[in-house]
Symmetry: C2
Subunit: 352 residues, 2 copies
């Protein structure tokens, strides 16, 4: 018995059991070189008998491929769990990586951009991953340059800043969701529509705001209010407080994400304002949360799982693992639920 008593089997054990060379084993597991059918059989049975799987470390060292993808989320634990945005993206990414035996190395760092940068640096310097997926494109984003310098395969989920040639995935008809949202409100007679936006350092934040304004403009309307907020519940509550304090308060408001929308809706109701009777509320993303609450949230659905899958496939394609990177990403669409509708109260131009 040549098998070592303890420790995992190695390629040599398999080769010995199959009565072939280690090179032969390597060839059959990698499908390279030429191997006769009988040899392949013997190797395969030996491998399965020994329950052998190539050591990731050895493969990585030898071939300079780690078969792992990295992702870093720049969020505090609280915000991360309040906005399960990332979770959905990660699910999508994983669903593509898993079948190919790729791993996902996740890092959660604090809000400081330097921490994110350091994480990428470490991923690259330690050669822990074959590529990374970036999210939340920033105005003046330096991460692409960094990763290019580090020689790291990269894909961005979202819109690149200033036509940066980084590979990126996004839905077609990106503006359709917000446009439909505005149409929906206008069709219900809303004329004073406000927008509570996210941090303006994001590319998508500005884009969506512009789409919102254009959609209103098509009806000769302008935003009744625009509030730039963070992504926190407190920010949403504060925004709603300001909106409703205005004597020309809006009759409808769009929020940058579902968590803010729900928080905003609650704030309104706490102030005695009925949703949607006095105020229509629309969120963004269509997270499960929106269906949980009462009234259920009308929101702009984003295919986050699809985006994650697409990003993974772009990476996989550039790593030569798959031929076709295309994934069907469903365009954003409005999901009408209960938080929007026509005004039912008397026009609250003069709040009590």
């Amino acid at each position: 018995m040549v098998r070592r008593a303890q420790g995992k089997p190695t390629i040599a054990d398999v080769a010995a059991l199959a009565g072939v060379s280690v090179a032969a084993v390597s060839k059959v597991v990698n499908g390279k070189g030429s191997i006769s059918a009988p040899t392949r059989e013997r190797v395969l049975t030996a491998a399965s008998k020994l329950q052998w799987t190539p050591s990731a470390a050895a493969v990585a060292l030898r071939s300079a491929k780690t078969r792992a993808i990295g992702m870093v989320a720049r969020r505090s634990p609280d915000l991360l769990s309040a906005d399960p945005h990332f979770t959905l993206l990660i699910s999508g990414i994983e669903s593509e990586l898993s079948p190919l035996g790729y791993g996902l190395l996740l890092h959660i760092v604090g809000e400081e951009p330097s921490a994110e940068e350091a994480a990428y640096r470490r991923l690259a310097d330690e050669r822990r991953v074959d590529g990374v997926v970036l999210t939340e494109s920033l105005i003046g984003d330096t991460r692409f340059d960094l990763l290019r310098t580090l020689g790291m395969n990269t894909v961005l989920i979202g819109t690149p800043w200033r036509d940066d040639p980084v590979p990126a995935v996004q839905a077609t008809g990106l503006d359709s969701g917000i446009r439909s949202a505005v149409e929906h409100l206008v069709a219900h007679g809303h004329q004073r529509v406000a927008y509570v936006s996210g941090p303006e350092d994001r590319v998508h934040t500005r884009y969506r705001r512009r789409v919102f304004e254009e959609a209103l403009a098509a009806h000769d309307l302008t935003p009744s209010h625009t509030i730039v907020s963070d992504f926190t519940a407190a920010g949403a509550v504060d925004a709603v407080g300001r909106l409703l304090a205005d004597r020309r308060r809006p009759t409808a408001v769009l929020f940058a994400n579902d968590s803010m929308a729900v928080a905003g809706m609650s704030a309104a109701r706490r102030l005695g304002v009925d949703v949607p009777g006095d105020l229509s509320v629309i969120g963004h993303d269509d997270l499960p949360l929106g269906e949980l609450v009462y009234p259920q949230l009308t929101t702009v659905r984003q295919d986050l799982v699809g985006l994650g899958r697409a990003a993974a496939r772009v990476l996989l394609a550039s790593l030569g693992e798959i031929e076709d990177a295309t994934v069907d990403i469903r365009p954003p669409e409005l999901v009408v639920r209960e938080s929007t509708g026509p005004l039912t109260s008397r026009e609250p131009v003069h709040p009590t």
Copy 2:
């Protein structure tokens, strides 16, 4: 110039630049062996000049340590993002791993237990991680045996099944949260309290239910209803429907998690039942979600981030990375918000 034009620097490059042997470099970066101060200096400056960091693959191959921890979440994308439970645990784990340069390899698999098992197997066979963290202890859990067989370092977040000697982390005073919840309700005059539990294959599910029953028993009360549900919103809605259809409907209900509680609360309100006027609702976990909604959710807070941190430290300690694994995990506690209170309506013994 000995440095290769392309490719990352290696330990040999650093050694050459510092004018020492590769062994010397290895010793200084690992703090082993004896190295003179001047030599250490030269190595350090050379390393930083070259921006060199040891290759994770080479270290892993040579030392059989990957400096990575694995975790597999068995959840559909939807459920995962509806219940950010995992997210919080992961944040806690990461916060301990990151400073030590450890990575977190995440796998998300479907609901089938076999998928989870396969994921662990792969993690072990490929030797991708030095340990794994398990969550959601199951009745008759086979994962511990599997991982023991695979020779994998393991830590469980939660209560082991049948005193399995797997290392586990949990809060002290585990029952305090639910006990306080019951006390709180009873103090407000509630006599008919229902419990909407999670899937009964979980260890904690049964435990919590038992605590609930004991706490009621201390007041000579028994559960008005007990409904075993899944963790979905639909399950919660259905449960509430059944609860409220009863002519001896409960005046208060505890849910197994916050998402269910919120969904349940919404269902009640949709049926014209006021919360907390007609029905008090209590959740479990204290996710950010509970503060977003109106009325804000009274819930049993669990220190999920602390549990994650503790689990990571147990692993780190058994890997010899740290001395002291102890982390202060805050005991569960009741967070009273707006979804509970005394009955304000007439006793709804006879529903309309």
